[in-house]
């Protein structure tokens, strides 16, 4: 199993924890945590993760704004972004995909199968 670096941008601490623990247990990948969009952009620039898991609904700067900045920033624009959202319905999924996300994972999800889901989306071998 290839080591991957995952950046999770989510303001919910419990989500931060279960995602981090779940991915580490399931796949052994490193999960960096950012509690806001701004923090996430900084971390993304500095750490160049293999994938960014981005929560849509966040205070101050929401997922869509964060995505926009990530995509306009040359240092982060190539990093694949997967939305984590509780709002994911078919039409919203299409709308999000048009913004440049590779996929949308709908809450509630099982963090113990999240790594496999990500690998499937991005075509990674596990």
């Amino acid at each position: 199993m290839t080591d991957k670096n995952v950046l999770l941008i989510d303001d919910e601490e419990t989500i931060q924890e279960v995602v981090q623990v779940g991915i580490e247990i399931e796949a052994g990948w490193q999960v960096a945590i950012a509690s806001s969009g701004l923090e996430g952009i900084n971390l993304a620039q500095n750490q160049q993760p293999d994938v960014i898991l981005l929560d849509v609904m966040m205070p101050d700067m929401d997922g869509i704004d964060t995505l926009s900045q990530l995509k306009t920033n040359t240092r982060t624009s190539a990093i694949p972004v997967i939305f984590l959202t509780a709002k994911a319905q078919a039409e919203e999924k299409n709308q999000f995909q048009s913004l440049g996300v590779v996929d949308v994972i709908t809450k509630p999800f099982n963090s113990m199968t999240l790594a496999s889901q990500i690998a499937k989306i991005l075509g990674w071998e596990m």
């Binding site: 419990t14 279960v18 623990v21 247990i25 609904m57 509780a86 809450k107 509630p108 999800f109």
Partner: protein, 694 residues
């Protein structure tokens, strides 16, 4: 004449005749000179004999006579001293004496007087008849007619008593009308026994007998003793009796006349010879009374008919009046209701002119209903607004009901959401006469919808996020990587995990159903192979089927439907999941798709071919009375199913919403203990392509 010459004694005789003749006689010579005149001639010519003799007769005539041409008879005119002119007829007796002419004159006036008097009398009688008849006929009231008859007869005949005696069926009778002189005792209203007027008398009168008795005591009167006594009792000395006969029409017998009564004139002060005229007058008046009786009877019948018809008409009018009043009342009530309702109500004719507007037009839009009457929609709403509504107006005028929503600033200055429904007014269920427009303010509903959306959005986020944490934490714990649990601890963890799964499922279903029902989702339709959809659903349910020991089988099909793949997959997996849950172990759930031409109730899809999907299980079956309700929310066959089988009670409701969103139908057929089959239809691709072009 030779005898006259020979008998001088006769001369004196003739002289006497000549002298005393009432006719004027003149003897003339052959030149027309008067030789001798008698006193009557003197009187005729109003001159003395002395003045007349030796004069030419022509001197006394207005136009001279030509004696040579006189022949037999002729007329002459004589001027009288007072200027009056007498027309006189003369007759010439030639050769009575040689060379002398005898002229006898006769006044034509005298000659004609008698005839004229007779003529005058006849004329008077005719006039009298006419007058009396007219008087009688002036009334339609029998009483009045009878009274007029006796009064007139009494007046004309100068009789002492005139009466109308009515004969009753039993032969008795009574004078019912009377005209009597003051000094004569009245007989009116006195009832007479049958003996006074026995049957044989009645028979005679029925045949038309007229009885004129100049003197009741006279032998030739032929009255019975008792009748004479009776006459004396009423001081009757002479009487004239004529029958009053009434025509009758009989259905059983031939038409005829019956004796209704008698018209009687009494002379009490003296005997009286009844003239022919008097008898005739009485008879004619009796005839008139007979006619009047028949007419009165007809009138009575007619009045009966009229009364009956009038009663019917009154009833009809009364009913109509009541109906009209009820209609007015109903209209008034409708108007009150229409004006009281918090909606705009209008009726628009097919030329798009307002024909009715309720009071809400005034309060909502500031448009006065009387002013709106007969105004065109364009005139009232303006070009821009009319463009927005004209397509809907066109639709309703084609006979289709149309509902749409629009936002409008009302009198209060606020923007309101309005729901407008146009209902066509069809005559004979065909021709559109106009349409009813109902506009309700749905601003509150819209606000509630917005709140609900927001609420669902919040629930969506606020429930799903903690659920993710719980769900993930439990899954992490279950791996045992964070430490091992006792058996009981693992059991508890399993329960928590299962119930969390159920909660996740429920939240997802609630949100799905809400979104589909709100109509906000758009079906992303595309061409889908029916077999692929079924195989995909089977693939998704493979693990569950294996866990339950159920076989899944898909029947071959090459049909293509026009559908939203994700939603149809959701429907199929839902149905397959149910089938697995309720099937006994080692049984098979079969999926199939067949084409069926189906008449849909929705006119929009009429005549379109539909593909019917079927998911058939061998489960316990569904009671017949639950086959419909299971498609409603939280309606499971057994309320414990949700716990036992892990369902939410929303799956079939979601399926129905999805299928109906595709224009299809969903239903179930079942046989207890043998299994159930769930069917749903989707339009076949070809037809939907053309639908798209619409």
């Amino acid at each position: 004449m030779a005898g006259v010459k020979k008998s001088p004694t006769k001369k004196s005789f003739f002289q006497a005749v000549f002298e005393h003749s009432l006719e004027a006689i003149a003897i003339l010579d052959c030149q027309g000179q008067i030789v001798e005149v008698n006193p009557a001639a003197c009187q005729l010519f109003a001159a003395t004999k002395k003045k007349l003799v030796s004069k030419s007769i022509n001197n006394f005539l207005m136009s001279p006579l030509n004696w040579e041409q006189i022949q037999g008879r002729g007329q002459i005119k004589i001027e009288q001293p007072k200027g009056t002119i007498k027309t006189v007829e003369y007759s010439q007796v030639k050769d009575l004496l040689p060379d002398y002419n005898l002229l006898v004159f006769k006044e034509i006036a005298d000659f004609n007087r008698q005839a004229t008097a007779e003529l005058k009398l006849h004329h008077q009688r005719v006039e009298l008849f006419a007058e009396v008849t007219l008087k009688i006929r002036q009334s339609l009231q029998l009483n009045e007619i009878l009274q007029t008859a006796v009064t007139e007869v009494q007046r004309i005949l100068q009789a002492d008593r005139v009466l109308i005696y009515q004969i009753f069926a039993n032969g008795t009778g009574m004078p019912i009308k009377e005209a009597v002189l003051p000094e004569v005792e009245p007989i009116l209203g006195v009832e007479f026994p049958e003996e006074v007027f026995p049957a044989d008398y009645r028979e005679l009168y029925t045949r038309g007998r007229v009885r004129a008795i100049a003197d009741v005591h006279a032998q030739d009167a032929g009255l019975a003793e008792c009748l004479i006594e009776f006459m004396d009792e009423w001081m009757v000395k002479a009487k004239l009796v004529v029958p009053i006969l009434q025509s009758f029409k009989s259905q059983t017998k031939t038409d005829g006349e019956h004796l209704w009564g008698l018209l009687i004139a009494h002379q009490c002060q003296a005997t009286r010879q009844w003239t022919e005229f008097e008898q005739e007058l009485m008879q004619q008046l009796a005839d008139q009374i007979g006619i009047a009786l028949s007419q009165a009877e007809l009138l009575e019948n007619l009045e009966g008919v009229v009364a009956e018809r009038t009663a019917k008409l009154r009833q009809e009018i009364s009913e109509r009046t009541k109906a009209e009043a009820a209609l007015r009342h109903s209209e008034e009530q409708l108007r009150l209701i229409a004006n009281g309702l918090p909606v705009l109500i209008a009726y628009v004719d097919k030329q798009q002119h307002y024909r009715f507007n309720n009071q809400a037009y005034q309060t909502w839009l500031g448009l006065s209903p009387p002013k709106l009457y007969d105004c065109h929609l364009l005139q009232v709403h303006g070009q821009a607004e009319y463009q927005q509504i004209s397509q809907h107006v066109a639709t309703v005028l084609r006979g289709e009901t149309v509902t749409y929503e629009r936002d409008l600033v009302l009198q209060d200055g606020c923007m309101h959401s309005l729901s407008v429904t146009y209902i066509p007014h069809l005559q004979d269920k065909e021709t559109v006469q106009g349409f009813f427009a109902l506009t309700s303010d749905i601003s509150d509903r819209k606000a509630v919808e917005r709140m609900k959306d927001e609420f669902i959005s919040v629930v969506s986020h606020e429930l799903r996020t903690p659920l993710t944490s719980i769900h993930s934490s439990l899954k992490i714990l279950a791996t045992g990587k964070l430490g091992s649990l006792s058996n009981q601890g693992e059991r508890m963890l399993k329960i928590a995990d299962e119930q969390t799964e159920r909660l996740v499922h429920l939240v997802n279903n609630v949100l799905d159903l809400q979104r589909i029902q709100s109509g906000k989702i758009t079906m992303n339709k595309q061409a889908c192979q029916a077999r692929e959809l079924m195989l995909e659903a089977v693939q998704a349910m493979k693990t569950l089927a294996q866990e339950q020991g159920i076989q899944l089988s898909v029947k071959p099909s090459n049909l293509v439907v026009w559908a939203d793949r994700d939603y149809i997959m959701q429907t199929l997996t839902n149905l397959v999941s149910n089938a697995i849950k309720f099937s006994p172990k080692n049984s098979t759930v079969v999926l199939s798709a067949e084409i069926k031409s189906q008449q849909q109730s929705n006119s929009k899809h009429r005549g379109i071919s539909y593909i019917t999907f079927a998911v058939k299980d061998r489960g316990q079956g569904i009671p017949h009375d639950r086959l419909e309700t299971i498609f409603e929310r939280f309606q499971q066959v057994d309320s414990s199913d949700s716990r036992k089988k892990g369902g939410t009670g929303l799956g079939l409701a979601i399926c129905r919403q999805i299928v109906e969103g595709h224009g299809g139908q969903i239903w179930a057929e079942s046989c207890l203990e043998q299994g159930s089959t769930f069917y749903f239809t989707l339009p076949e691709l070809i037809q939907l392509k053309s639908d798209r072009h619409d």
